[in-house]
Amino acid sequence: MKWARIAAIVLLAVISIACLGAELFAPASYAHQFRDVPDAAPSRQHVLGTDALGRDRFSRVLYGTRVSLLLAPSAALLSSLLAAFIGGTAGFIGGWLERCVMAATDLFLSLPWLFLLITVRALLPLNVAPMTSVMITFALLGCLGWAAAARVVCADARSLAQSDFVLLARASGNGGLRLLWRHIFPNLKTVLYAQFWISIPVFILTEANLGILGLGVAEPLPSWGSLLRELESFSSFSAQPWQFVPLVLLIVVVSCFHLALSREEFSV
């Protein structure tokens, strides 16, 4: 499976270079509307056709990849780190602290955070730059997306805290923070990788749906989420298969992340 991992890393690198060099590779601006050819099929001028406003889809995919490929993994990393810290610490320490933290986590999972997001939109100025809006959106998603993983991490940390090698480490004189940092956190990787891998597409899709609150990417800046929204229509399942390119790209990137990260598991 080494070849698969290498292939995944190479593919990720190619996609990253392509989207970072979007100004070079894109045949048109992502915002320019070719109003004479809306919803056009692929052609020499428009490799992936055009969208409903006549914007070149290939250009929008390139620029949208740049936004989502940078921000979604960052948000996923943030939520994973928060889950690791909160769940890991609670599970390791145990006792009343664990019970309190897990109760708070359960509460966190149940609250209607939609209203916090609406409130954040209300507090932001209307003329905020699209890039700022999308960064705030992903940051919020990162801050709100840790709770489910934290529970699983906590259970994992609890098991680890009672395992033999940790007992040995304690007997060797290792204290709380050192034990946590050197022995517990590294062994939480399995759950954290899962959390990270799941969060990327979930955050991308959530970002698209947050458009309904005025958050997310503002026009004309594209993102994978906004491109995937084209699929949310019955009409897209008829005669326009090129609309599926962003979906295929997202699946490819998510799979590449999985292959690139999960090296130990393929030795099973």
């Binding site: 915002a31 004309p220 009409s235």
Partner: protein
């Protein structure tokens, strides 16, 4: 022998007619509501879904024929408007009963009007009648005669009764006892409503058969338009009352006979700037938005033809003013849509000291011209219009930020906090008479969107509009009213408090299994003649 032959032929003919008649009856009509009806009380109806139920179940005194746009007698056989529009008397049809058997009489009309005009009810329909302070008086002058006197003249008084479903004063079922073709038999919350034929419905067809032809109507609650469309193509529902442009084209390609475009509707899409004096906008932006040159320039920089062609796939046309061209009598034919001319727009802006510098527009104090437009999220046509306007305005160096908001947040901004710069919304117009938009044009009104509840008109032209709207509401002379409304349209066209963008077409989809449907521009577009609709025999049998 000959006699026998004639008899045989006649019998066959009668049997055939009877068979046809039987085939034209029965079955279940199915279509979708996009939300759950909020109320079954016809007096309190405000949302679309409740209005649908009211139309299908409510019996009215007079009915506006949506095809001919003429008023026709219903529960009233005749009526007379008098005292300059202050009074209306009805002669009622006799021998009519509510769905539960309770007899219908003038008392029920009096009861309904009293409910409607009760200030505590805050009925939108009732407020349409309220042209002045004072009590509405009812006089029952016989079992079948009623005289209603309003405190002030009401323009288009008789037509307004098309919206008034008569309720029973005596029935224990209260508003559930109805006089319309159907009654509500079942209401499964969030799922569907089942309406069954009113066994006591008074209307009959030319051959004397009791209407409606279809036995029942099932209204499925379906918010998702894609799924609604899919269900139509599968034959699970019989029509879509209001079809979007995108779906129209798809359907027209698949099944051309099913897609109907009745032409331009009464609805408009419009944008306006926040001109509220005490809003939190910086002073320089307030100066921009209150400048007629600025508004005209923005209007002239928007390519309405492209909006109609690209966003609405050609199923719309550039709008002119607040009265749609579909409203043939009231539309001011001297006015034309503002042409797309960015050069002229820049010249207009130059009059106010705006100038282009390195492709960016600045005002006389050097502020970059940038503003946001809010619109309701989830409406892809408005989102696309806003995005197209973004490119158009970039052509004159203006940066437009498109912000989509959930509807309650948007409503709060435009009606309470006034924390917005520009807004893109649509106006749904159900009434041909422009007097129904009185509260949009009166400067003191809460729904005078760009600057609500003005204590005194902020500008001379708003004062003139106030005067003209009040004048047209106080006379029944149609020529005088037409002159006043024409002048209001002209003022609005010049001053552009609303920048009218497009008038959408009224489109519908009707299954081939449904007969006698004639989609029109006025709502309800397809089922306006629901009692005349029939289903194919096979479809009727299956349901």
């Amino acid at each position: 022998m000959r006699r026998h032959l004639i008899g045989l032929v006649l019998s066959v003919a009668i049997i055939l007619c009877a068979a046809t008649a039987i085939a034209q009856s029965g079955g279940q009509l199915r279509f979708c509501l996009h939300s759950e009806p909020k109320t079954m009380n016809p007096v309190l109806t405000a949302d679309d879904s409740s209005e649908t139920v009211r139309y299908l179940t409510g019996g009215v005194l007079v009915r506006l024929n949506r095809l001919t746009q003429q008023l026709e007698p219903e529960l009233a056989t005749s009526w007379r408007v008098g005292a300059g529009g202050k009074t209306i008397s009805f002669k009622l049809r006799s021998g009519v009963h509510f769905s539960d058997g309770t007899p219908f009489s003038a008392e029920d009309v009096a009861y309904t009007v009293l409910q409607l005009m009760d200030p505590g009810m805050h009925s939108p329909t009732g407020d349409s009648f309220r042209s002045g302070e004072g009590k509405t008086l009812m006089q029952v002058t016989g079992k079948d005669q009623v005289l209603i006197t309003f405190p002030a003249p009401v323009v288009g008084l008789d037509k307004l009764f098309d919206q008034v479903a008569i309720m029973s004063a005596k029935s224990p079922q209260k508003e559930m006892a109805v006089l319309g073709p159907y009654y509500v038999a079942e209401n499964k919350a969030g799922s569907y409503l089942l309406l069954k034929r009113n066994p006591n419905y008074w209307k009959r067809d030319a051959s004397g058969r009791q209407l409606p032809y279809v036995d029942s109507v099932r209204l499925d609650i379906q918010e998702n338009r894609d799924i609604e469309m899919l269900r139509l193509t599968r034959g699970e529902i019989d029509f879509i009352n209001a079809l979007d442009a995108e779906y129209f084209d798809k359907l027209a390609a698949q099944a051309p006979g099913m897609a109907y475009d009745a032409g331009v509707s009464l609805d408009a899409e419009q944008m306006w700037f926040n001109q509220v004096a005490n809003s939190r906008l910086p002073a320089y932006k307030k100066a921009w938005f209150t400048s007629v040159n600025f508004r005209r320039a923005i209007s002239g920089s928007i390519n309405r033809e492209d909006l109609a062609r690209v966003v609405f796939r050609g199923h719309a046309r550039p709008a002119v003013s607040w009265v749609s061209p579909a409203n043939k009598f009231w539309f001011n034919t001297k006015l034309q849509p503002h042409p797309f001319d960015q050069k002229a727009a820049l010249q207009t802006l130059a009059q106010d000291g705006f100038r282009l510098e390195s492709g960016k527009l600045k005002d006389r104090d050097g502020h970059l011209v940038e503003f946001s437009v809010i619109t309701n999220a989830g409406n892809k046509y408005r989102e696309r219009m806003a995005t197209m306007m973004q490119q158009d305005l970039a052509g004159i160096g203006i940066r437009l930020n498109v912000v989509t908001l959930d509807f309650p947040s948007l409503i709060e901004r435009i009606t309470r906090t006034f924390d917005y710069e520009a807004c893109l919304l649509g106006l749904m117009n159900n009434d041909l008479d422009p007097n129904s938009q009185m509260n949009v044009w009166l400067s003191s009104s809460e729904t005078h969107q760009w600057n609500p509840s003005e204590k005194t008109p902020a500008t001379a032209w708003e004062a003139e509009i106030d005067k003209l709207m009040r004048a047209q509401a106080s006379t029944l002379d149609m020529n005088k009213r037409k002159q006043a409304i024409d002048r209001v349209q002209e003022i609005v066209w010049q001053e552009e408090p609303f920048i009218y963008l497009v008038n959408k077409n009224a489109m519908a989809a009707v299954s081939s299994a449904l007969h006698n449907a004639h989609p029109v521009v006025l709502r309800p577009q397809v089922y306006w003649n629901v009692e005349q609709l029939t289903l194919d025999t096979e479809v009727a049998k299956k349901r």
